[in-house]
């Protein structure tokens, strides 16, 4: 047995290499595949090519990108869009792939459904045709997003040719101050290392602040690894991970659970394991964070001001800031808390889990929204659990729309978009130009901060709101 200390990533990687190709490419075995309605054309392409799906038993599927989230009958008017969902049901039925579609309480955002069902497990390789597959790394697995051709490749061969990424460790030490959420940690991290800071790397999040996080919080952090350029993020499995997984439908049970857990306990990075890059962040120094620009890296503490391009020496950076301010309709030096919003969206694979809804509801309770505001739970099961706690009543009484699960206004593929020029306080993951609809301006933040914006109509420091009368 090797005595060289190894990282969590190295342990999972080396266990999945089937063979080595030319020039350092490895054929990597893929244990599990998640599919969503956006990938439905893949089935047709494979059928046309006469290629069989090698392991339908290693797949689970749902519909999230194209499903409507308005309450009431979930009909889809546009036949092309409707086909994305109905074809998904047909293909998965033909192949006997577990499919959680509209009408099934387990339906939800693919990165919410996988963990919720215990399909996501420590130590595995897991892929999905979606960049936010990084979310699943919260369980100590190697999970990454792939494109359509790679998806076909996995379906037919159960493998992918991959160049081994480098390993980066980000230690988040200290304790988060009140009002500072997991979302603030990851937004501050991306601002610190940049949207390309993790390119070519798999990030392992470690340190006391990560160890103290719940699974919902770890998923929020890992989810946005892609926004730092990394294909994957991961957290070593621990007691929190096992407590979450035990008893979930796809998780092992009985003697298999014990055997699995014994293996999982060998996975955390060894003392002295060497990473290609190390980053440190002190959680105690963080404040609630919002983005002001059109890249997730353009994030600042809510106490800050919109940057002034005139104060930037680098001409390329100056013109980038100018372009972002023009798109965002913002003037330099405006206090962030003076920015008015037109709409609020609480949802997405980043922040649509039960704890997210609880933290937003705690801010909303006894207050009224002053702009249109939506809550879109990550899955039917989360929606049901929130209703059992009475969270839906709190949101509804405050004037929120309490909608059906799906990706919704994070990406707007189902028609859930803002209007051109509208400014949205959003708990999603991308503030790119046009992401939430053509010309829509997105500010990313935590669920509590989005809730605060909904009741004040502007970007708001949730810590200041806490003391105010309801």
């Amino acid at each position: 047995m090797s005595t060289t200390p190894r990282t969590l990533f190295e342990k999972i990687w080396s266990r999945h290499v089937v063979t080595e190709g030319a020039g350092g490419m490895s054929l990597l075995y893929i244990d599990r595949l998640l599919m969503h309605d956006g990938a439905v054309h893949t089935f047709d392409r494979l059928r046309k090519a006469g290629r069989a799906i090698r392991r339908p038993d290693a797949i689970a599927a749902t519909a999230d990108h194209y499903v409507p989230t308005a309450t009431g009958p979930r009909g889809i008017a546009d036949p092309a869009i409707r086909g994305m969902v109905t074809e998904m049901a047909r293909h998965t039925a033909d192949l006997r792939i577990p499919y959680f579609g509209p009408g099934d309480a387990r339906q939800g955002i693919v990165h919410v459904m996988g963990p919720e069902q215990g399909f996501t497990l420590p130590g595995i390789t897991l892929v999905c045709g979606d960049s936010h597959t990084a979310t699943h790394g919260a369980f100590g697995c190697l999970a990454f997003g792939i494109g359509a051709s790679e998806l076909e490749h996995v379906l037919v061969t159960s493998c992918l040719w991959q160049r081994k990424p480098r390993a980066m460790r980000i230690r988040v030490e200290g304790a988060r101050p009140p009002g500072v959420a997991a979302k603030d940690v990851i937004l501050a991290l991306i601002a610190s290392i940049s949207a390309a800071g993790g390119t070519g790397h798999v990030i392992e999040y470690a340190g006391a602040a990560i160890a103290a996080m719940s699974m919902d919080e770890r998923m929020t952090v890992c989810n946005m690894s892609i926004e730092a350029g990394a294909r994957a993020g991961m957290v070593a499995p621990d007691a929190t991970t096992y407590a979450y997984l035990e008893g979930r439908p796809f998780a092992p049970a009985g003697a298999q659970w014990d055997a699995a857990r014994a293996h999982w306990e060998t996975l955390p990075s060894d003392e002295g394991a060497v990473f290609d890059a190390e980053v440190a962040l002190d959680a105690a120094t963080l404040a609630p964070t919002v983005t002001w620009g059109t890249s997730p890296q353009e994030a600042l503490p809510i106490t800050g001001r919109v940057p002034d391009p005139a104060e930037t020496a680098d001409p390329a950076r100056r013109s980038a800031i100018e372009r972002m301010l023009a798109y965002m309709g913002l003037a330099a030096n405006t206090p962030l808390t003076a920015i008015k919003v037109d709409r609020v969206f609480i949802g997405s694979c980043t922040n649509s889990r039960l704890e997210d809804l609880r933290s937003a509801a705690a801010v909303v309770r006894g207050r009224r929204v002053v702009v249109p505001a939506w809550v879109v739970a990550g899955s039917g099961l989360i929606k049901r659990a929130a209703e059992a706690e009475g969270l839906d009543r709190i949101f509804r009484e405050a004037g929120f729309e309490w909608r059906e699960p799906g990706c919704s206004m994070c990406i707007g593929m189902n028609g859930d978009t803002g209007r051109p020029g509208e400014r949205v306080a959003s708990t999603s993951n991308r503030n790119f130009e046009g992401r939430q609809g053509k010309g829509v301006r997105t500010h990313l933040m935590s669920p509590a901060m989005a809730a605060a914006a909904a009741v004040t109509g502007r970007l708001t420091d949730v810590r200041a709101l806490a003391g105010e009368a309801r």
């Binding site: 063979t19 075995y29 037919v156």
Partner: protein
């Protein structure tokens, strides 16, 4: 997939950093099957106005750059969403190579599957190429995968490297799935061992 050996063509400079795949092709078009109409979807919302007319201020709409088949970009081109549709749109439009200091990882991988070559050069080199292309609108450059060189408008050759596996795949226009299926016996052997070692991963299929 179209093989790629060498392309000499008009190159268009895109100066912005972090050009994400949502910018390359907005999400509302992604339900469309891959086809020639993707050419009209490339950079749609920055390329066309509300009425579908070309925006004069978008560089690829300027006469000198119309025939561009190569893009010279800045850092982190193709970041964000995994949508391969971004590469489909580039390919349908006629783009065969993108030269940049860095790329989004998933976009980078997707490019090789479609036959669009992503070329990594140092940031200063990319910036110098973009300056030349702005100074000489419509100038051609050569991207030679066989020789692994980019030849700028000034005739200066810039070396780059592509890992041998992907280079060979592109030069031959190889079907990667067919190549992998050639390893089926190895994969099956691995799979049996892996299932013995981690039996808890086997999911019982319901009828």
């Amino acid at each position: 997939m179209d093989p790629f050996t060498s392309v000499t063509a008009v190159a268009v400079p895109l100066d912005a950093v972090n050009i994400d795949t949502d910018r390359v092709i907005p999400a509302r078009f992604l339900h469309k099957s891959r086809g020639p109409e993707y050419a009209g979807l490339l950079f749609h919302d920055v390329r066309f106005d509300e009425d579908g007319r070309e925006r004069a201020d978008f560089i690829m709409n300027q006469p000198a750059f119309r025939g561009a088949r190569i893009i010279v970009a800045a850092d982190n081109f193709g970041c964000g969403s995994s949508r391969e549709h971004a590469v489909w749109a580039l390919a349908a439009y006629g783009i065969r190579a993108v030269v940049a200091p860095s790329f989004g990882d998933i976009f980078f991988n997707n490019c090789f599957k479609i036959g669009v070559l992503p070329v990594v050069v140092p940031a200063e080199t990319a910036a110098a190429l973009r300056r030349q292309l702005h100074a000489m609108p419509g100038a051609s450059i050569t991207v030679d995968l066989e020789a692994q060189t980019v030849t700028g408008p000034d005739g200066v050759r810039i070396p780059f490297t592509v890992d041998p596996f992907r280079r060979q795949g592109l030069l031959r226009g190889e079907d990667e799935i067919a190549l992998t299926l050639g390893h089926e016996a190895t994969i099956a052997g691995f799979e049996r061992r892996h299932a013995d070692e981690e039996p808890w991963l086997t999911i019982e299929r319901r009828a």
